[in-house]
Amino acid sequence: MAKVPVQFTLNGSEKAEFIDSGTTLLHALRDKIGDTSPKGGCHQGTCGACSVIIDGELRLSCLTLAETCNGAVITTTSGLSEGGVLHPLQHAFLDTFATQCGFCTPGMIMAAKVLLDHKPNPSRDEVVEALSGNICRCTGYEPIIQAVLHAARANSQNAA
């Protein structure tokens, strides 16, 4: 099948690839570009493990065709740390034991990041709502909710 070009900004750097038409963004990121932070859990939109941020909005990369992302700005969890320093959300996930097997973690962090980008001081209910499309089979969710609330608190202390 004819290859089609795709070009977008991934975690601040320009990417250009030739892919099969109809390739999902998840597949393009993991198997073409080599960013394995988004995980393929269900490929049905149900688990949220493949969540990425496209032009500021949370999306499921397993249901997004890579070609529809031409010109987009994409963020994945692998792009969050800076110079080897973890993002406050990543720290908070470690500190509250919000990560066990870790499979859901990159998706959870993406969902949490868009929340905190728009609402730096969310309520517990807002955190639960923001994570409601992401499934975790290990933690029982409470440590994840705490991690997001911790990260929000850490952010506001830094800002003060």
Partner: protein, 264 residues
């Protein structure tokens, strides 16, 4: 998976491309890409149009027009559509709502289609390049529809005239046990002067509860006043059975939830 995507600047060109075999329109892709991921080989090419009117929302004093590519998230945050926030927010989790379109929701089989239930209660018309179709006619014929839906339009309901409720087992997000939308108008004495009630999951697609609507006319929204409407609520239903609930269960709980919606 051999799937090709074709993007067209205009709806007209995309409609022409949809005439070829194995082609399907791509909205947000939450159902159609999922089907492809699951191995549905009946679709070999996906067609989409980037015509700007598909993504616009227009609200005037009396009328609302929503482009078919508008997402649930865009409706939920629109300042002039706050009465629809609950219905739009009822569709999936945050990422799904950033992708799921109005157009796609019209085709979503039960237990999906929560937003289409709201549109049915609002007596919307569904627009294509060939003109406008009443939503009931559209839903009845949707399985053989080949034309791209460009928009939905409806009259702005009176203040507090629109009600919506979705019942699900997993909170805050979760697939519907059922959903109900109603547009009610009350006379000066508080009696119901007009009622349109739409149900989700009570058939394979959104349906009207016509017997309940009729039984509400002239009644007040009190426990006694709504009793005949609740008794008539199940007329004509043939609910789906799925892992969320059986048809029997859906029929059993419908009057309870209809009662809650009418008394709020």
């Amino acid at each position: 998976m051999a799937l090709a995507l074709h993007t067209f600047a205009t709806v007209k060109e995309a409609n022409a491309a949809l005439k070829s075999r194995g082609s399907r329109y791509l909205g947000g892709g939450t159902l159609v890409v999922r089907a492809a991921n699951e191995g549905d080989v009946s679709v070999s090419s996906l067609i989409r149009s980037t015509e700007p009117s598909l993504s616009s929302i227009a609200v005037t004093d009396s009328k609302v027009r929503i482009g078919a590519s508008v997402t649930m998230a865009a409706i939920a945050r629109h300042p002039d559509l706050s009465f629809l926030t609950k219905a739009a927010s009822a569709v999936g989790g945050p990422a799904v709502r950033n992708m799921a379109t109005v157009g796609g929701n019209l085709f979503a089989p039960a237990p999906y289609g929560d937003f289409a239930v709201a549109l049915l209660a609002l007596d919307a018309t569904v627009g294509t390049d060939d003109g406008e179709t009443p939503i009931e006619t559209f839903l009845a014929g949707r399985d053989t529809n080949r034309a791209i839906v460009t928009s939905v339009a409806f009259a702005l309901p009176k203040a507090d005239g629109f009600r919506f409720l979705k019942v699900s087992r997993v909170k805050p997000k979760g697939v519907s046990v059922l959903s109900i939308a109603a547009v009610l108008e009350l006379a000066g004495d508080g009696a119901v002067s007009s009622a349109r009630i739409a149900l989700g999951c009570m058939a394979d697609r959104p349906m009207r509860a016509k017997a309940a609507e009729k039984a509400l006319i002239g009644k007040s929204l009190t426990k006694d006043g709504i009793a005949p409407a609740l008794a008539a609520g199940n007329e004509g239903t043939s609910p789906i059975t799925d892992p969320i609930a059986s048809a029997w269960y859906r029929n059993e709980v419908l009057p309870v939830h209809l009662g809650r919606l009418l008394l709020t």
